[in-house]
Amino acid sequence: MARSQIELKVNGKSVEALVEPRTLLIHFLREQLNLTGPHIGCETSHCGACTVDLDGKSVKSCTIFAVQADGADIRTIEGIANADGTLHAIQEGFREMHGLQCGFCTPGMITRAYRLLQENKNPSEEEIRFGIAGNLCRCTGYQNIVKAIQFAAAKLNGVPFQEAAE
């Protein structure tokens, strides 16, 4: 089958590549670009471990072909940290609030939280839970993930983080 030429931006860098039309975006990112941050979890559009940011949308990169991303601007977990190499507020939140245990879902969680906070600078706990409903975590029970995102929102808004009483 003929390969297709694609041109896209990944974590701020221009990329040109030849892909088979049937190549899924997650396979392209991991195997052709060596970006192994986005994980393959369920491979059935459920778990969200493969989430990347594409043209301002959170997408499951196991459910889109790389050819469909021709011309797109993509950000993976590798492109989330600040330009000076320090952790992004969301990454810091996950560390400070123990938002991960095994860490498998974390790249997808953080990438999703990134878009969520772009769209809603100060989400309620309910809005956070609704917003990350497409990302599964089998370790934490989500409590600390929610706190991590609240921590990040507070930091990005320049206000002190107040942990809700339990």
Binding site: P21, R22, S45, S58, T63, F130, G131, A133, G134
Partner: protein, 288 residues
């Protein structure tokens, strides 16, 4: 999970897409958001030789008013439906339904056209479109035609859409101001199809139901328009006895499969429960 090989096409216009699909025949499939088709391809339950991606066709996007109709382009995503002020104002039932479809990532890509054209009885929008009295514009090689949603669904994955035709727009008559609406969906978890769901639109006048329309999701091979139940409710004050009668009339037209979501009998009962809740919810929203 790697799909079978295929050739990829990205037309710029409906005309170009239709010409391609006509040429490809059974060997071509239109690709919208891909969140039904790509999973099927990964499981090799579908292996089209050619995909005609509709994402490059600008004219298939957006929500607009056309006379008394609200017109939604087929490639408008669930996310775009949710954030549309026009829809929130004129047909809030759409937003309420979209918010209950799958999860955020899927809603960023999944489209209204894909949802209504796929013919999957698990999709939520078809029953909503029956409830709203929508119609679909489809374009094929021989031109454009309009099909009422209530005549579109023939069986599971079987619709009035013919090979080579593309569903381009969804037309919805603007509902009356002050109408009540609700979409009540029972599902096991986020991302699941409905065990049963009910869409209700109604208007009240002097404490009585003036107009009522009901759609049911995933309790038969096709979405259901529960005409008899709506007829029973019309003119009533939505009292307990009448609601019970209407629920019974809705339950009787269901024929769900027994599957992981429960035995058929249970799913029929849940369709009734969803309808009763939707009626109550819709009633509480009437007025204004």
């Amino acid at each position: 999970m790697i799909p079978a090989a295929f050739s990829y096409h990205r037309p710029k216009s409906v005309q170009e897409a239709v010409a391609l699909l006509a040429e490809l025949g059974e060997n071509g499939r239109a690709l919208a958001g891909g969140h039904s088709l790509i999973p099927m391809m990964k499981l090799r339950l579908a292996s089209p030789g050619n995909l005609v991606d509709l994402a490059g066709i600008d004219e298939l996007k957006g929500v607009r008013v056309d006379g008394n109709d609200i017109v939604i382009g087929a490639m408008t995503t669930q996310h775009e439906l949710i954030v549309s002020n026009l829809l929130a104002d004129k047909i809030p039932l759409i937003r309420e339904t979209s918010l209950q479809i799958a999860d955020p990532q899927v809603r960023y890509l999944g489209t209204v056209g894909g949802n209504v054209a796929n013919g999957d009885p698990g999709n939520d929008m078809p029953a909503v479109m029956l409830c709203l009295g929508a119609s679909y514009s489809v374009t094929g090689k021989s031109g454009e035609r309009r099909i009422a949603a209530r005549e579109f669904y023939q069986g599971a994955y079987l619709t009035a859409l013919e090979t080579g035709e593309v569903l381009t727009t969804v037309h919805i008559p603007a509902p009356a101001a002050g109408h009540g609406w609700a979409y009540e969906k029972l599902k096991r978890k986020v991302g699941d199809y409905a065990t049963a769901a009910a869409a209700v639109m109604l208007t009240m006048k002097g404490g009585r139901v003036e107009n009522c329309s009901i759609g049911l999701t995933n309790v038969a091979d096709t979405p259901l328009w529960a005409q008899e139940a709506a007829k029973i409710l019309t003119g009533s004050a939505l009292d307990v006895v009448t609601i019970k009668k209407a629920v019974a009339a809705a339950e009787v037209i269901t024929s769900p499969a027994s599957d992981a979501r429960g035995p058929a009998q249970y799913r029929t009962k849940m369709a009734g429960v969803m309808l009763a809740r939707a009626l109550e919810h819709a009633k509480s929203r009437t007025g204004g």
